[in-house]
Symmetry: C2
Subunit: 556 residues, 2 copies
Amino acid sequence: MDNSKLQVIPLGGLGEFGMNCLALRYGDDILVIDAGMMFPEDELPGVDTVIPDFSYLEENREHVRALILTHGHEDHIGATPFLLSELDLPVYGTEFTLALAGRRLEEHELKEQANLNVVRPGETIELGPFQVRFIHVTHSIVSAVALAIQTPLRTVVHTGDFKVDPTPTDNLLFDLHTLAEYGQRGVLLLLSDSTNVDRPGYTESERAVRPRLEDILNRATARVVVSCFSSSVHRLQQLIDLAEEFGRKVCFLGRSMISVTEIAHSLGLLRIPDRILLRPQDVMSMPRDKVLVLISGTQGEPMSALSRVAVDDHKHLSIEPGDTVVLSSRIIPGNERAIYRMINHLARRGAEVIYGSMNPPVHVSGHASAEELKLVLNLIRPRYFVPIHGEYRQLAKHAALAEHLRSAGLEETFVLETGETLEIDARGARKGERVNVGRQCIDSGSLDEVVEDLVIRDRRHLAEDGFVLPILAINKHTGNSEGEPQIVSRGFLPAEESAELLEEAARVVKRTVENSSPEERADWGVIKDKIRADLRRFLHRHTSRRPLIVPVILEV
Amino acid sequence: MDNSKLQVIPLGGLGEFGMNCLALRYGDDILVIDAGMMFPEDELPGVDTVIPDFSYLEENREHVRALILTHGHEDHIGATPFLLSELDLPVYGTEFTLALAGRRLEEHELKEQANLNVVRPGETIELGPFQVRFIHVTHSIVSAVALAIQTPLRTVVHTGDFKVDPTPTDNLLFDLHTLAEYGQRGVLLLLSDSTNVDRPGYTESERAVRPRLEDILNRATARVVVSCFSSSVHRLQQLIDLAEEFGRKVCFLGRSMISVTEIAHSLGLLRIPDRILLRPQDVMSMPRDKVLVLISGTQGEPMSALSRVAVDDHKHLSIEPGDTVVLSSRIIPGNERAIYRMINHLARRGAEVIYGSMNPPVHVSGHASAEELKLVLNLIRPRYFVPIHGEYRQLAKHAALAEHLRSAGLEETFVLETGETLEIDARGARKGERVNVGRQCIDSGSLDEVVEDLVIRDRRHLAEDGFVLPILAINKHTGNSEGEPQIVSRGFLPAEESAELLEEAARVVKRTVENSSPEERADWGVIKDKIRADLRRFLHRHTSRRPLIVPVILEV
């Protein structure tokens, strides 16, 4: 093992959206930065959660020193339970980040045994050959950090997720000074968030949502229901402050809204004035213009509180004509239809639903736009640059954005996708060997179980054209078929249309068997293949469809 | 039959996105306005096209006088072949609209027998008790019209799809004067497009895209490839004009791009300068900075020309580093992932891909924003108003937008969803009886065939958790089961995990059969139900999943 080589090994989140996870290796020591999940695509039927394939870490388990979490969003912490169930690692993060990760660990009964270590921004921890400094950044979630990682080959800076909010609601400014210092001293490699590289200019400050929210409360004569991510503590603080000003009581609804606000409050991150809280069971009995409900479910998740309110199936809240519902959130790509369906239901109940882009906005992004990304690039002035957190189109754009730094010491930008590695040594940087990566799909209701590729491929196939099963009984003594072949199908054609076709298909199967030699008939693998091929041709000719065909031979 | 009653019968497009179709009935005469299709949702696996259920029209076939098409977009004409294959109707529309509808009819070999009648804007046709005037409007497609329909109970105005473009590229202004005249004389009912009601202000003119396109061509040093809807003749004209200015040859790629531009050119709607056209087979041999490719496939449709170019699988065009690809189009909700996947592939090939919102824009909408909608409401000043073309949230917003007209004669706004009807007579307007409506799903590759609900439900179920088939051979003479029950499953659990479970499941089935009385065993319906119930319980307990269970009994 060449000990003087630094390796950057992206295990998730580069060239894809979500499940951020990156390993940094120097010699025999590996640091893991973030372990996030991804929301599944529609093409993965029945799958609820997607996480990175951790086999690289498992194969190198004795070398992995720690997991460092940059902030508490699911696409950075959501796979923590799955990683910790395989590897026994110390975890480092800010207090709030670890509290959120702890919730997930609790759900998998891993909290007790977990080794969670709170680090404050400004502090440095030592992990093998690495000294890792936590640097405060502004983001839509509180307590987010960037990392400056001192290695024997100089410093690597990992931004985590960030925006450069000039007026954060908690007045905790982005720690530009520390970044500047590192830039001054010289940074070997910058890894920087590419999520919003498509947006020109600057992302608006979190404070930009206040005028619109104020305006909504000013005009509202009945209940106001606002949905945002439960981890958006800045947003919730602004809403609670406004409720106080407007003399409204605040009610939290939804499992994650209640538990995350409790955590934020207990850590002193969320100020909740005395006597402003309203219990869920008292919402409907309060005067309608004295209530502000803060509810989870911005993405139209079917079991979320807001989705249930939308179909009037929530224990504590019914929407009545004149109520206002605000979606103070973005639409995560892929969730459009579910969200619009929920909004339609809310509108049918008579609510005025406020969502989408307007000016001033009801939501601002937590990610840096192009000018902020340039600011960070210019402060750091790295020798090498690897854009992280984004699909290929975003990484490529971020790479182009850094071109002007060529004259300021940037030697090379590497657009890496998950699994592609970078090696840096005394001679310079180059792409290294690929490592095995991939996605693990976690099925609904069976959290410890990974659904394999084949199963998902079958489901996708089934979803398209259903299945056709030719079933044949073969006498185990004589080897002859007994009775007529039977065909069972589902999801293929409407029953009344398919009856005749499937009868004919049974005759096709019978003919295939009859035309086979005794040797073929004795080899069930062969006879099944022949049946499958003949039937596939027959069905495609008559219906243009390609159902999943599974020949079954029953020994009787 | 009460002859003095006017009925508005939405068969599609109200409370849903796409498949616009509306019937207007007076006494025994029915007019049909538009017959559009809808792009299927992900929840309809394997379905390619969704069209309205036309049973109301089929049940009243002797009363249906005509189909009128407002413009040539698929969500207004796409179901024409399916409607005409059921009802033999004359079709009215502008020349371009009928040419596009004719393409669809040809694909279904219905063109020859179709009765297509060209109407020019400004002309009036008489259909039973209705006089229908075609009124020129501006929209993203050329030759779009609104309709003023004179009925025995005064005038109904149907806007079709529109924006109020103050500077259309063909200088054919929106015919506001005619709308104003009708408004002056008094309009009974306005039906108006709600698609963009969420957007404040005015939609930008089609001309707004020119500066950005010019800028792109100015900077480009290699091939420029622009994708837009093939029916966006205004956009294509601007691109062809720019190509001429910049000394680039123009090549059309993609089936619909080639055929629609041919139609537009032959009708004199698209000006193509002499010798500017480049044959597809010559694209790669031209100097790279002398080529502008206009290509179909903005929505990432897997078989489209641009998708094939993205994966370098197109006969005539390969993307090389330095090329520019522009998506001059919007993202139709639901297509996000497919489009981004395509963009990622294009970026991997080294193209600079330009898409999304920027200022100035590469795409502008064809639909009116809030201020334009108010302008039309104010010009028409109807007695009754029904917002059309949109999901419920949009219809409700459009209804709210009309409230200020209360003092200018608006008596009532009705938010109707597909199937809800409106009746107007001498006494006023009210909601009428519901009619049967719904969606017909057309399967891929089997265009004449409607996939029934049950099949789709099965496919959805299969997509979630796969299937489990318990198979039992029963001796038809003795009624006893022969051999062991066998279990076949797909899309359920990975094979290595399920082997043991399915063996146990087979024993469950065996026990169920053994514990049944001879009467139960003789009734295959009963025994199947028992097997299904026992197996469902067993599998859910052990896996938390609910595969589709289909017991099969084989007579041997």
